[in-house]
Assembly symmetry: C2
Homo-oligomer: 322 residues x 2
């Protein structure tokens, strides 16, 4: 850490639909926050939007010194080329060197990483995994992302693509995933697939008509709605959270066995269900993992909620940008 | 590396049935080798056997200078206590601090590690993965072991248990594993399970009576026999190797996605089938892994064969013992 304790940093969580940005203190506290719809017109319009977001955050009186900028994106960043790959939600980003273009515009160093890596780093530096060395972070949302911390640092792998946990095969004879594989964890436990499984169950299970999720029958609902209904006591929603946790436990047990991490941190909107999803996940992981590996690992809920990506991006910028 | 190029080291592969030891040069060449049945009477008898093996290897005229000793064992080594855990094949080792006792007896530093880690290190330093940084090593034998190399070093995890690849769930509704879990990779692809699956198929598939594996019907055979029969053109054996490779590919794809390693090295007796098992493994991994992660990874057969563990243990001693 070369910056003084008074430095501030900017963290941006650049989603396919929403751009969230924050001015973050040296210790990971959010001082100021903005939220906008992501610009999709062109890559230059997106760079312009980012530059304006940065300028507006730096206009805050607490932005005392120039700091660096970190951006988390829903895609893979190739460490060798610093270009993004596989980013279906923001295709315009694949054409440009966003760090160079934004950096030139705002006159600050910019670093770019996968959004799950950014959130993992946030939880490591300022959240549930503070002070840990070997941590697996999972985020359950529209997709399932993961960030792997090894020996206190984000592990990115040979080309920068490490952490693709959502496409681990859970059911070799399962349904087809958007990635082309069959029976990925995402085909069961991602937000849209939790909704799909819930709809199927509402359709075939007569007793499920007691669930508020089904009233009215064609109401649109999200995985977060199911999580909240579960917390509010809806039995059907609780069953869905329990079964989701069970499938997550199958995959997490594989990671616990393979990596012997000391902590698994679970974040993302689906985790709003809290212990209703955490406990079945822990139960299934215990059932399937090696006892000594399970015993040396804690499985916990993330602490930073939807701010993890912004805080983590800012702190990555603090620690990496030069 | 603090030793001179002329130093020699001793590597021991301590199996449940066989103890193999080698005098190894600084560059990983085997200069002298011994092979004995493992002593099971008591832990002190085992220490005595190891000490005598070391003395006999050091009596070789090429054992020019005192070097350190590395031992690979078929169990988990707890890095915090330096004790072994979960070692069903050699229970007597769990009671003693083998590094201290053997070290005292022979007057040399001794290091202890899991045998798959040792073999992985051998392949990294003197085999198929030479010069690589991020490598996943799998060994297919009585069990399925794995060693994970991250940034050029063995990754052991929080307590030393990392690499338990064989107990990744492949079929959540599969058969029970010795570990207590259901549908582990080992229940399909370990040596004894390849034999079990082959026997079942010989029993139910009439055309399989053409296979030499079935003649005579009650002949005992091993997974290595199936591998050799496959190489010799036995179609039934080839189908079994192909299907085994397919299941391995499911699990390896998960690792490739999760860790984005640059190389997967496959060793162990089952790999005697060569491309007959490698090619279906690669095919299934390609089908299931993320294209950019698959494209940045080579999947190859190990180079050191059954010597990987001895060479790796010796070179671990070279690089770690003080």
């Amino acid at each position: 850490m070369t910056q003084s304790d008074e430095s501030t940093f900017i963290g941006i969580d650049l989603g396919g639909s929403t751009l969230k940005g924050a001015l973050v203190s040296n210790s990971g506290e959010i001082l100021q926050e903005i939220r906008q719809e992501t610009e999709h017109e062109s890559s230059s319009a997106l760079v312009k939007q980012l530059a304006e977001a940065v300028r507006s955050l730096r206009a805050d009186r607490r932005a005392t010194r120039a700091g660096a900028i970190g951006i988390g994106i829903p895609g893979l960043v190739n460490r060798k080329t610093n270009r993004v790959e596989l980013m279906p939600n923001l295709p315009s980003l694949a054409d440009i060197d966003i760090t160079a273009e934004l950096g030139r515009d705002v006159g600050l160093p910019v670093i770019l990483d996968n959004d799950a890596n950014a959130a993992a780093y946030g939880e490591l530096q300022a959240g549930a995994a503070r002070g840990r060395r070997d941590v697996f972070f999972v985020t359950l949302g529209t997709g399932i992302g993961a960030g792997l911390i090894i020996d206190g640092r984000i592990y990115r792998g040979a080309a920068g693509f490490a952490g693709e946990f959502g496409h681990m095969t859970i059911d070799p004879e399962g349904i087809e995933c958007v990635c082309g594989n069959i029976g990925c964890l995402e085909t069961i436990c991602s937000g849209p697939n939790i909704v799909r499984r819930t709809r199927e169950r509402l359709y075939r299970d007569r007793t499920s008509s007691l669930s508020r999720l089904a009233l009215p029958r064609d109401r649109e609902f999200t995985a977060e709605d199911i999580a909240h209904a579960a917390r509010d006591g809806d039995e059907m929603a609780q069953v869905m959270m329990e079964r989701t946790g069970m499938f997550l436990g199958i995959a997490i047990a594989a990671v616990v066995n393979l990596l012997n991490v000391e902590m698994v941190v679970m974040g993302g909107g689906v985790m709003d269900a809290g212990e209703l999803i955490l406990n079945p996940t822990i139960k299934e992981t215990r059932r399937r993992a090696f006892p000594p590996s399970f015993d040396s690992c804690q499985i916990v809920i993330a602490k930073l909620g939807p701010s993890a990506g912004m805080i983590g991006s800012a702190l990555m910028a603090r620690d990496q940008a030069t």
